[in-house]
């Protein structure tokens, strides 16, 4: 056929809304896609940890104590508590509450920045350096991977807060806030298996 198909108009889509929330929104699915990629990365890094643990005669190898619990516990409790304001931001975004998301993202920026303090102390109390041996390397791998996600989401939240305070918020930006809150939930949830592995396994096997 030489010519394009002629068309028969059977309906009009102009009455549809110009944005959506939650899983109806296009970007929500993009966010899920990237979380799946990063989640797979975490899972494989944990698998590498477990694999090396099975290959060594002792875990942790002689000369290492397991990572200290104190700062890690503070970080973990802080991270879990951060879920509360995070869920509040999510609700504000779903309710299209402009004041709520402005305050909420600012609050989450502060929470994220504060959490970096116990995280820094956690690094100082791992009781192993990355260059010591395979154990130290894979322990640092998991810590660096997770910390890079905390920092990335913190950066994103700060930029979002600045934008929200200075601009008129549209439906798409409420959806963005929702996605960023979902991403923080991902950062919280991925930490739990990592913490269980890096603290639990050396104590279980040691």
């Amino acid at each position: 056929m030489k010519e394009p198909r002629p068309v028969e108009i059977v309906g009009d889509l102009s009455g549809l809304p110009e944005s959506a929330a939650g899983s109806n929104h296009l970007v929500w699915w993009g966010n899920i896609g990237f979380m799946t990629i990063e989640g797979t990365g975490f899972a494989l890094a944990v698998a590498a940890y477990l694999y090396l643990a099975t290959q060594m005669p002792a875990w942790p190898p002689a000369g290492h104590a397991p990572p200290d619990l104190f700062w890690s516990a503070i970080f973990t409790v802080g991270l879990l508590l951060s879920a509360v304001p995070n869920v509040w931001v999510l609700r504000c975004a779903q309710a299209k509450d402009a004041r709520g998301v402005r305050i909420g993202t600012s609050l989450m920026s502060i929470v994220g920045a504060v959490l970096l303090v116990p995280r820094a102390f956690e690094f100082m109390h791992l009781n192993a350096n990355w260059y010591d041996d395979g154990y130290g390397s894979v322990l640092w791998l998991l810590m660096v991977l997770h910390t890079s996600h905390v920092v990335t989401d913190l950066g994103d939240t700060v930029v979002q807060a600045v934008w929200l305070w200075t601009h008129e918020i549209g439906d798409d930006q409420f959806a963005d806030v929702e996605d960023n809150a979902n991403y923080w939930t991902f950062v919280v949830l991925t930490w739990l298996p990592i913490a269980a592995v890096i603290h639990g396994l050396p104590r279980l096997l040691g």
């Binding site: 394009p4 068309v7 260059y131 934008w163």
Partner: protein
């Protein structure tokens, strides 16, 4: 009714790029991005093919001195790395970037700027490997650089780093493209195109994208670990430091085996569409083909250890992976039977695209059978690292993926360019490439059985391998001549080919409904779909919806399962930020070959560029402490 020309003019204005260089650098048009992806990949296929020819020259006589061992090592490493990471995977994604929106009858990808970013990063990977080669920093350890050989103790210098970082580039590009493709297919289907009415190509690309998302993090992780071992003295892969070299192989092949199917599954999509159109009947067993693709996609994640039968793993493990490897032949076989049944019961039209499909079926079956042989752990132990393996993977990759790709190129060329390729020269190219390929690679099975190891730069005359090697070299030369005919045909037809019209093959799917070449907006209206073959209906008119904006970039978003219209989404305009972001990422990746501080310092320009990219353009607040002042 005919579409109002004024509407089409308005749509063209809305969706066109700026003219000139600025438009080139800022475009987010999926067709333009895909075209440069495809042209780059084909150029690299030519370069890597020349390397292959050079190696065949070296092996054509015993104790040849054209190459020394180092040059030979560099040649096969560059050939394999280019073909796998810079040609096969990217070209399949590029086909999806081009075709998915057209087959959905939508205006662009879900994330237009992500598509542009993906290409620029891919180009960064291409330049890393090939500029490195020009500077004589060519990787020389094969396409999978196992430690300890690639570790700091045995590979000083930066050859291994170039390889590892090239992979990081291409994998980030591939992951970005995959998320884009998957979300576009899931959320931007036209009304009525339920999951059950999705053409096989879209299913194939959806599953290949999901496989990419689940497998490529493994290679990014493992090459990052290798770079860390080399740069900051970690011990992931050093046995003396409490690491383990097999960890590298496990992670590499957890990606590497699915990768083969990430290349092959899109090809099954091409084949299904071509077989349908040129058999002039609906695909036989659509559901079976889709389920077979899903089965292949799932099984592909359970096979990786069959690349490691020779490393001394437990016998029970080997048995499991032998069984799993053989099991994948079942869904692959089901697909082939469905295609044959379609051809058998249809009215076959042997135009060039269909010839490629027939060449694919014949060649791929041979590759599949040698695959079942090598799946057996006991037999594999004899065959591994011999020329039998070289023959096997070229049969599955070239026969199984490149022949369908060439068929797809001929099939969709008229849609992309508005012109037909010469059938006559197309047949010549087909005959030379398929004939030359089989002449070139079939003898390698025998060479392998005779004991010729892969990756040797020469051999003594007393081994008796010379004649078969000469046949193989002759076949390669014929195949390359065929490739040149193919390219010449494409170039000549681009300027001189007969005008194709909208639908030269009487195709079954939506991409054939619009103008050729596709205008920047693709279709004038949003089509409605009520069958698997929306263009093969009794009606002469395409049922369509109005109401998506023509004066601004807007697309329709629908529900995942039933494609029910949900809302109208603003589609991103052209932007320089994807290019700037890719440049910032490139600076960080290249810098991190030399110093770990590049990661920290390089993160700052990346953050700036991404902020510029995602900064929504809306009015400033008029009240409150941060209100805009006039």
């Amino acid at each position: 009714m005919r579409t109002d020309p004024l509407r089409l003019e308005q749509l063209t204005r809305t969706w066109s790029d700026a003219p000139g260089l600025w438009g080139f650098l800022t475009t987010v048009d999926h067709k333009r991005i895909a075209a440069r992806y495809i042209v780059t990949a084909l150029l690299l296929m030519f370069l890597a093919g020349m390397l292959a020819l050079d190696m065949r020259w070296q092996l054509s006589t015993a104790e040849n001195t054209r190459m020394g061992p180092q040059l030979f090592n560099e040649s096969f490493s560059l050939h394999g790395s280019t073909m796998l990471f810079l040609v096969s995977v990217p070209v399949m994604e590029a086909m999806a970037l081009w075709l998915v929106p057209l087959m959905l009858g939508t205006r662009n990808m879900a994330f237009p700027r992500l598509g542009a970013f993906s290409f620029w990063l891919y180009l960064g990977g291409v330049l890393t490997l090939w500029v490195g080669h020009a500077l004589d920093v060519t990787p020389d350890l094969g396409w999978f650089e196992y430690p300890p050989l690639s570790g700091p103790a045995y590979s000083p210098g930066h050859r291994a780093d170039i390889w590892a970082q090239m992979i990081t580039f291409t994998e980030v590009a591939a992951l970005a493209a995959s998320v884009n493709v998957a979300v576009t297919i899931l959320k931007m289907r036209p009304p009525g195109m339920t999951l059950a009415r999705m053409p096989v190509f879209l299913w194939a690309m959806l599953i290949a994208s999901l496989m990419t998302i689940l497998s490529m993090p493994a290679i990014m992780l493992v090459t990052s670990m290798l770079i860390a071992d080399r740069l900051v003295s970690t011990h992931f892969f050093s046995p003396a430091g409490g690491g383990d070299v097999l960890l590298f192989q496990h992670l590499f092949w957890f990606f590497g085996h699915p990768e083969v199917y990430i290349i092959f599954i899109p090809a099954t999509g091409f084949v299904s569409q071509i077989v349908e159109t040129f058999s002039r009947r609906k695909l036989f067993g659509h559901l079976v083909v889709v389920l077979a693709i899903m089965a292949i996609g799932t099984l592909a994640f359970g096979l990786w250890v069959h690349h490691m039968f020779a490393v001394g793993l437990p016998r029970l493990g080997n048995n499991f992976y032998t069984a799993a490897s053989m099991a994948i032949a079942l869904p692959a076989g089901l697909q082939i039977f469905c295609w044959i049944a379609t051809m058998w019961s249809g009215r076959l039209w042997l135009a060039t695209p269909m010839l490629w499909v027939i060449g694919f079926v014949a060649t791929f079956v041979i590759g599949g059978l040698s695959g079942i042989m090598t799946a057996s752990a006991a037999l594999d132990l004899q065959l591994t690292d011999s020329y039998f393996i070289v023959a096997h993977f070229h049969y599955v990759l070239v026969g199984g993926a490149m022949f369908p790709l060439f068929g797809a190129f001929c099939y969709w060329y008229p849609k992309a360019t508005g012109r037909l390729m010469s059938e006559r020269w197309g047949r010549w190219a087909f005959g030379l490439i398929v004939g030359g390929f089989n002449l070139g690679f079939f003898p390698m099975h025998i060479l392998g059985l005779l004991g010729m190891p892969r990756r040797v730069y020469t051999y003594p005359a007393s081994m008796g391998w010379e004649t078969l090697n000469q046949v193989a070299t002759a076949g390669s030369v014929i195949s390359v001549i065929g490739g040149l005919v193919f390219v010449a045909n494409a170039l000549w037809s681009f300027w001189r080919g007969a005008p194709a019209g909208a639908d030269p093959w009487n195709g079954s799917t939506l991409e054939w409904a619009g103008l050729s070449p596709s205008p920047p907006y693709n279709l004038g209206y949003t089509p409605e779909v009520d069958s698997l073959t929306p263009l093969w209906t009794e009606r002469s008119e395409l049922r369509a919806f109005d109401g998506i904006a023509v004066d601004r970039r807007e697309v329709l978003v629908t529900s995942v399962t039933n494609a029910t219209p949900l809302y109208r989404q603003k589609s991103a305009a052209p932007s320089i930020w994807p290019l700037l972001s890719a440049l910032a990422v490139t600076a960080m990746f290249i810098g991190s070959i030399f110093t770990p501080w590049a990661v920290a310092v390089g993160a700052i320009p990346i953050a700036v560029a991404l902020t510029g990219w995602f900064w929504p353009q809306r009015d400033r607040v008029k009240t409150g402490p941060f209100r805009a002042t006039a």
